[in-house]
């Protein structure tokens, strides 16, 4: 019987830090090299400690007093700042619904909500029951900018996707994916297709696709309407010849070797279309004829991991931007 100890360091980006720990963790110590090196200065935190059994987002904090003259001990909960939280991304749950009060027709779309707690650029959210913009429901979107307690934008979206401002009903909500996608590369939803001798496809969430991959499109017919327009592309398989070319507005794109010049124009279904399948794209392999064929990137991998999240902030273990952080974590096997 023994204790397994892991260690590491990182430079803070000012965002929460996910530290994967294969052996799991029973305790963790974190040292903020930057604040310790700077010496006493105002209310700055220097050391942090967490032990299994503590509540989520809690931990011990050692910090200078307000005058910066001596160190005191406190807790993250007591200071009302982010602390330590265990995670297991294999669970991959959708978080609880949060009320949405409106959607503004713009490029990008703006989602109004009184609660933006825990949201950050790059997070993935799913909308539900957005009366007036139901064509957006059930589709994953990536968050762009967050205006605290007011709204957030949806990356890679266009005003044409919701041509009028929506005033959703009482059940309208967004739900955040807690950890992002477990399997990669996985399916993506399509927000725009630009026709041409080669075809540029924009997706709602940042993609992991690479040149040389073969992808399959699903552009299903919509009940009572041809509302996606470009149904000619449905079930077609193409090879990615370029990634992240501009579609005129965004660069979360793939370019495929399909000549769509004569296809019907891709459009979003109207909100009056009550039942439909979202347009999507998924990787099905690699083009072995292509000169750009290089790797095994099409192998779909399970990226689930367990570990601990260090909260960000001046009084939190992940620190603020450019802080240098050292940590060690232990797992007792008894």
């Amino acid at each position: 019987m023994y204790t397994e100890i892991q260690r590491g360091s990182f430079t803070s980006t000012g965002a929460n830090k996910y530290i994967p720990l294969v052996t799991d963790v029973d305790w963790m110590e974190v040292y903020n090299y930057t604040t310790i090196n700077a010496g006493p200065a105002g209310t700055t935190a220097t050391r942090f400690y967490w032990q299994r059994g503590m509540a989520d987002n809690d931990g011990f904090v050692t910090l200078y007093n307000g005058a910066g003259t001596f160190l005191i001990d406190a807790t993250s909960a007591g200071l009302a700042v982010p602390g330590f939280t265990l995670y297991n991304s294999g669970d991959n749950p959708l978080l609880s619904p949060v009320t949405v009060t409106g959607i503004t027709s713009a490029s990008p779309l703006v989602v109004a909500t009184g609660t933006t707690t825990g949201l950050a650029a790059g997070d993935i959210v799913r909308l539900i029951s957005t009366v007036g913009a139901t064509q957006l429901d059930g589709i994953d979107f990536e968050i762009g900018a967050v205006t605290p307690s007011t709204s957030f934008t949806l990356n890679n979206t266009f005003s044409t996707m919701a041509s009028t401002a929506a005033s959703p009903g009482a059940n309208a909500a967004y739900r955040k994916l807690k950890y992002g996608y477990q399997w990669s590369p996985s399916r993506r939803f399509i927000t725009k297709i630009t026709k041409g001798s080669s075809t540029i496809v924009t997706m709602s969430v940042a993609h992991p696709y690479k040149v040389g991959m073969k992808v399959r499109f699903r552009i299903p017919a919509v009940r009572g309407s041809s509302a996606w327009g470009m149904t000619e592309l449905d079930n077609m398989i193409g090879t990615i010849t370029a990634i992240n070319a501009s579609d005129g507005t965004y660069t979360n794109t793939i370019t495929v070797d399909i000549d769509s010049s004569s296809f019907t124009t891709f459009v979003w279904p109207a909100t009056t279309i009550d039942r439909f399948t979202a347009a999507s794209v998924c990787v099905v392999g690699e083009n072995s004829n292509s000169l750009i064929y290089t790797s095994s990137d099409d192998a779909v991998m399970n990226t689930a991991e367990r570990g601990i999240i260090l909260g960000a902030g001046a009084m939190s273990p992940a620190g603020v931007n450019n802080d240098v952080i050292y940590w060690k974590a232990g797992k007792s096997n008894i």
Partner: protein, 317 residues
């Protein structure tokens, strides 16, 4: 009258262990049933590369009588890479557990480890399909949601998509017989679903045939609940659900409709899975604890995305 009763003369031992260990609820593992089991050579890298050669064009133009050759064919193809990963878990058991428990703890823990491995494999395949396979929403129901509850039209749409992609059915037909209340069942694709789908299947009425109405009860898999058209539904409490993800916030049930060679499980030929038992002598100075564990090394894979289609449905109510 003085009488000896259990009140004044208690048994020395009040509790005994039941001679049967109670069953642990165990989900039916359905997601690997239609999967091909492919081996990966050991000592040969991290990844297996499968190749599909596209069909050659049809030869429908006469060659003529002048001894000239038509243009030669240049094959086109696609590769599919699969990289297995290692999974596992273990436990330490103190010798006093074995000493003091009447039931055979070691044996029972080994059974639970085996069950855990099979359920884990099933869950991996399930989650891989939910993340990567193409999907269509049910639209034929009337519950006002998107997707709707399952309808016969949706089953037909999925079947049409699979057959249009030249997918082959997994199961042979069940021939009709002169038995009251039965109906023949056509050759079919597997439809792998959560048990929550049962009430909506039953609500399809005569378009749904329960297994008990098959003309023959031979070769029916235990998880099978019935069939609609060319889909035979296998249900499990570990079926795929996207929690509260529909337009109206209902759970979405992901029904994986699968043909032959649509999906596979890739494992190493010398390391598919292992049960691990380390006697207590390996545990330190006083040799008190045994180690028990399981590990497996495999990857779920979609071999042909055209031969699997996920039908997404909600419940009627």
């Amino acid at each position: 009258m003085n009488i000896v009763t259990t009140s004044n003369y208690k048994p020395e031992v009040l509790v005994q262990a039941g001679h049967r260990l109670l069953s642990s609820p165990t989900a039916r593992t359905i997601h690997k049933l239609p999967a091909q089991m492919y081996e990966m050579k050991s000592r040969a890298g991290t990844t297996v590369r499968y190749r599909r050669i596209d069909n050659f064009p049809s030869a429908t133009v006469p060659v003529g009588n002048q001894g000239l050759n038509p243009p030669p064919i240049v094959p086109t193809m696609m590769d599919l890479d699969v990289t297995p990963q290692l999974y596992g878990q273990f436990l330490y058991v103190n010798e006093q557990v074995v000493l003091q428990n009447e039931e055979d703890a070691i044996k029972n823990f080994s059974i639970r480890l085996g069950v855990s491995m099979r359920l884990s494999e099933d869950k991996l395949m399930r989650d891989k399909l939910a993340a990567s396979a193409s999907s269509i929403n049910a639209v034929g129901g009337n519950n006002g949601d998107n997707p709707t509850q399952i309808s016969v039209a949706d089953c037909s749409a999925v079947t049409t998509a699979l057959l249009s992609a030249d997918a082959l059915t997994v199961l042979d037909s069940v021939e009709g017989e002169d038995r009251y209340g039965t109906a023949p069942v056509p050759n079919s694709f597997f439809a792998l679903a959560h048990t929550s789908l049962i009430k909506d299947l039953d609500a399809l009425g005569n378009d749904f045939t329960r297994t008990i109405r098959y003309p023959s009860q031979v070769n029916i898999l235990k998880p099978e609940y019935g069939s609609v058209g060319q889909l035979r539904f296998l249900v499990s409490s570990q079926g795929s659900i996207s929690s509260k993800a529909s337009r109206l916030g209902r759970d979405i049930l992901n029904i994986f409709c699968v043909g032959i060679e649509a999906i596979a499980c890739i494992y190493a030929n010398e390391f598919s899975s292992e049960f691990i038992y380390l006697p207590k002598e390996f545990s330190g100075g006083l040799a008190q604890n045994v180690t028990m564990g399981m590990k497996y090394f495999e990857a779920p894979a979609i071999l042909n995305d055209l031969w699997i289609s996920t039908l997404k449905v909600t419940s009627a109510v």
